[in-house]
């Protein structure tokens, strides 16, 4: 009996001590980098995103100020159920404060709900769906790097204006493909174009010939690829094989990453137009960061825009924590702080986070270089235009986010 009482007393004392600690500015943070670590999106996010998070921690300067920062990573395998299970485990058991990256819109939307429920912070860089800052927006979420609205209003719009007024979609059959097709269709019809057809293919398809034949016989001027990663590279390679571009139809790679261009090879990819918000070879600052990054990557690859977004998003998160003077372990509070500080970093330049969680920064139209123009192993893009952030992303007046109605 005596033992039980003393144990109880000790327990109480410990509880009091730990709550006391929390009140006196806790300077510890735990970051969870949740990504596709082994599947078709692993190269554009994956281990590179964890490295980007690590570099953000090092460059934030917080550790010198006495902060204790820890990073863990997980593989959601492109399955929403696995993604939410990991997120729950991290938030409930491991006491993770912020989850970053999360490519694959299906997983990203599922994780979005978990994070809101647990009042943590979500800095998404990998997912494309514009729903994250529209119908499904959350006070805990910041969406960095890109989204389907931006892709539609840059690459899509440029192609329609250049005369591509009939479209056929090859769409990945899940949340992302549907969102990208929806947003692009809106742009096409608003600019006087017409969508003549489309086909939905399963995620991670290796053979696109059937779908490409359907696109070919549709006679549409533009074949819009509303897919990503390995699906896009396979579509483009096989379209070349079936003589689609030679036949006069044009491919719209609505979403194309650096690693995709590498996988396709310049010979086949040359001349493709697409949009990204970050490219390693933009200026001295991006080159300097990319050099440091590549030196620590297994295959010496420079960062993709998704990985750059993980870095920049976390840096901004650390700025907010620093301004708060400690970690309140309150997601809404931290995100509010993040929104109140203008964003500025070496990779994306100046910008802001809108009330719906959308980060606004410039977007760039690129063209893939010819093999003869490329001077190095990752020298792939030619800049052909810049779209200012306020024109690239959803205007607040059009956003369907409930947070804006307050």
């Amino acid at each position: 009996m005596k033992k039980t009482i003393s144990a109880l007393l000790l327990g109480t004392a410990l509880t009091v001590a730990s709550t006391g600690l929390a009140a006196a500015q806790d300077k510890s943070v735990k970051i969870g980098a949740l990504s596709d670590q082994s599947g078709l999106y692993a190269d554009l996010g994956g281990p590179g995103s964890t490295l980007a998070a690590q570099m953000a921690v090092e460059d934030s300067g917080l550790q010198a100020k006495g902060w204790k920062i820890e990073i863990i990573s997980g593989d959601h395998q492109n399955k929403p159920d696995i993604g939410t299970t990991i997120a729950r485990q991290w938030l409930d058991v491991d006491k993770v404060d912020v989850i970053v990256d999360v490519p694959n819109s299906g997983v990203a939307l599922a994780v979005n709900n978990v994070i809101k429920e647990k009042n943590a912070v979500y800095i998404n860089s990998g997912a494309a769906t514009s729903d994250l800052t529209n119908a499904q927006c959350s006070p805990n979420t910041v969406h960095w790097t890109y989204d389907t609205y931006m892709l539609a209003h840059t690459t899509g719009q440029a192609l329609v204006k250049a005369g591509g007024d009939t479209w056929f979609f090859l769409t990945a059959d899940y949340a992302f493909g549907a969102a990208l097709e929806r947003d692009t269709t809106a742009v096409v019809t608003a600019n006087g174009g017409k969508v003549v057809g489309g086909v939905k293919h399963p995620l991670n398809t290796s053979d696109f010939s059937s779908f490409l034949l359907q696109a070919q016989s549709s006679k549409a001027k533009i074949i819009g690829l509303a897919n990503a990663g390995g699906d896009t590279t396979n579509s483009i390679k096989q379209a070349a094989e079936f003589g689609i571009v030679k036949g006069g139809q044009k491919l719209a790679a609505l979403l194309l990453f650096l690693t995709d261009v590498k996988a396709i090879g310049l010979e086949t990819a040359q001349g493709l137009n697409f949009t990204e918000t970050f490219y390693w070879d933009m200026n001295d600052k991006t080159r300097a960061f990319s050099k440091k990054f590549a030196a620590r990557m297994k295959n010496n690859a420079p960062p993709t825009m998704v990985q750059a977004g993980v870095y920049a998003g976390l840096l901004h998160y650390f700025k907010a924590l620093d301004a708060l003077g400690g970690n309140p372990h309150d997601g809404v509070k931290v995100v509010e702080k993040m929104k109140s500080i203008p964003t500025e970093d070496d990779l994306f330049g100046k910008g802001e986070i809108q009330p719906n969680g959308r980060t606004i920064h410039s977007a760039y139209l690129f063209e893939v270089k010819k093999p003869s123009e490329s001077k190095g192993p990752w020298d792939f893009y030619k800049l052909i235009g810049t779209v200012p952030g306020d024109q690239a992303f959803t205007p607040l007046s059009e956003s369907k986010c409930a947070l804006l109605k307050k």
Binding site: A42, L213, S217, G230, G247
Partner: protein, 287 residues
């Protein structure tokens, strides 16, 4: 209607890969009684071998078509000698687990070094371009794949079912002790057979390198479908697996036309139906 012809032809192309892979699986299962889950990884190694030959040794597609299957086949034979042979006579489950583990390790190693997006491999110059068949534009390379795999499949069938060597092989699986009594080195024959099955997988890998990306997971994505093909065709039946391979390619192609969302599942739906009606597979004998 024209579109339908085109889909049929495209289905045949995919069917060629299914046929080559399921043939290798059928040979290995028929002769060694091993369910070779490493088949997809070995197929992937074939594609990578072609890539290395080109980029490190400057050896092009045509020699790779012969060298890659031999190199990967030798790797397979080493696997058989050092690991698989100890599982002879044990339950199928052991072989399945071992080969599945090998597949995971091989894929993991390749993924560690080459990432997941894959590497480009160009179509050989002689097979570039395409011809207009009226109802579709057929890339010459794809036509070549169909013809070449058909020839290889039939040659393998002939070797096993119609030659003296094939007769020894079949006899050795029926009654190894008796065949050994005739002075035939049964273990060596089994090793060579495994090498042959693996070589076929690697050959399919080389054939697919210019069409698909050379990716560490290219086999993992395909192998499940191929297993369904083998189950439908009947485990261990050589001709059955060839015919089912091509037929399922066509059925899948048609699904991609009529109801694309189901194209990933149609093979498995068929598998379930076949298992319900004829559990030994379409051409299989009762075990």
């Amino acid at each position: 209607m024209q579109a339908l012809y085109a889909q049929l032809l495209v289905g045949l192309i995919n069917g060629s890969f299914y046929a080559l892979l399921s043939l290798g699986l059928a040979v290995i299962f028929g002769m060694l009684n091993i369910i070779n889950f490493a088949h997809g990884a070995l197929y992937m190694m074939g594609a990578f071998a072609a890539y290395f030959l080109l980029n490190l040794g400057g050896i092009g597609y045509w020699p790779a078509l012969i060298i890659a299957p031999i190199v990967v086949g030798i790797f397979g034979m080493i696997l058989e000698r050092t690991m698989l042979q100890w599982l002879a006579g044990l339950d199928h489950l052991y072989g399945l687990l071992l080969t599945f583990g090998i597949a995971l390790i091989v894929q993991g190693v390749f993924q560690n070094y080459f990432g997941s997006s894959g590497l480009p491999y160009a179509i050989p110059d002689q097979l570039k371009g395409g011809m207009n068949l009226g109802f579709m534009f057929l890339p010459i390379y794809r036509g070549w794949v169909v013809v070449f795999s058909l020839v290889v499949c039939l040659a393998t069938w002939f070797l096993i079912e119609k030659t003296q060597l094939g007769a020894y092989l079949r006899a050795a699986t029926e009654n190894p002790t008796l065949v050994r009594a005739f002075g035939i080195n049964v273990p060596r024959m089994i090793t060579l057979t495994y090498g042959l099955g693996v070589g076929l997988a690697a050959l399919a890998g080389v054939l697919s390198a210019p069409i698909n990306q050379v990716r560490p997971l290219m086999g993992a994505d395909l192998i499940i479908v191929v297993f369904a093909v083998v189950v439908i065709g009947g485990m261990g039946s050589i001709m059955g697996s060839i015919i089912t391979g091509f037929a399922l390619g066509v059925i899948e192609g048609l699904t991609k036309y009529f109801y694309p969302e189901a194209s990933n599942t149609v093979v498995f739906v068929l598998m379930v139906l076949v298992l319900l009606v004829k559990p030994t597979g379409l051409t299989g004998r009762a075990a």
